[in-house]
Subunit: 151 residues, 2 copies
DNA sequence: CTAGGAGCTAGAGCCGGCTCTAGGTCAACC
DNA sequence: GGTTGACCTAGAGCCGGCTCTAGCTCCTAG
């Protein structure tokens, strides 16, 4: 039913993951792959579908801020096979926590930015309504330092 | 009414912002401050409340991924004074968009991580229920590469 | 009067994560 | 049979963002 999948070249994997060939080799060298990438004629890398699947998980973990060493630790655990699931779970949970925290922080930041955008929009509205009178030193941000003002 | 605020030392600012004194000098050199930091006796930096206020905004923008050059551009605009509010707004809006995008991405990542945590929790539950039988090659992640499996 | 401690400048160093280069192999095409 | 193009390895380089060092100046306390 399933053909003996030919394996993808590094270029193909780069194309479909969005990573550069450099990054792919770098990741391999950093040990983030679970199984060693097979080699074809002339020592060329031949990626299996599983490799690519794993890679896409890695990409998501990276995108959520997991550092390469952690990714390698995870790969090490999976490579070691069944029996260390608690450790994998712990690793994932820890990362989950960090991502959650980061989401919270980012949301707070977004609130401030949204607020400041609002302030400037209002300001510009008022400029427009009041026939172009950009009053100096007014806005969400004070141009120069004055003794005791804040916003 | 307001005393002529004495100004804070770099150490004090470091302490209350969480930045290092190194980072503070670095930021200054990078031009992220709106007004030049005044100097006291012996050339020591003396930060005003406004400086610190601005800094806290900067910290939030940094935390949301705004690169230092963008921060400097923003500071440049504010320093230039009234009249460029559209540019400031554009800059903020652009950053707002990037943060929103990043929030979306991060949320997606979190979904995957949550899913995987769930998979491993179920797995461990089943191990526990089934009197310790860690069946090889089962889990959210496949230890070795097999012809045609995915999850 | 000397020893600390905080600050100063200029510049080097570091870390994570790629990215690029040099120099080479191989297969395929014209 | 020469050129192109994709790949290989090893290792250098780069970028952002700090962080640290060296060598100095002050001020204050003991």
């Amino acid at each position: 039913m399933a053909e003996v999948t030919a394996g993808l070249s590094i270029g193909q994997v780069a194309e479909r993951t969005g990573l550069s060939v450099h990054a792919l080799r770098f990741y391999e060298q950093q040990g983030v792959f679970v199984s060693p990438i097979r080699r074809g004629v002339g020592g060329r890398r031949s990626y299996s579908e599983d490799d690519v699947d794993w890679l896409t998980v890695c990409i998501i973990l990276r995108a959520s801020g997991m550092p390469l060493p952690a990714l390698r630790r995870y790969a090490d655990l999976v490579r070691a096979g069944a029996g260390n699931e608690e450790e994998r779970l712990a690793l994932l949970k820890e990362h989950h926590g960090r991502v959650t925290t980061q989401l919270g922080r980012l949301t707070q930041c977004l609130d401030l930015i949204t607020f400041k955008v609002g302030v400037y929009e209002d300001l510009l509205d008022r400029y427009a309504a009041g026939r172009d009178r950009p009053r100096p030193s007014v806005g969400g941000d004070v141009p120069a330092s004055r003794p005791g003002t804040s916003a």
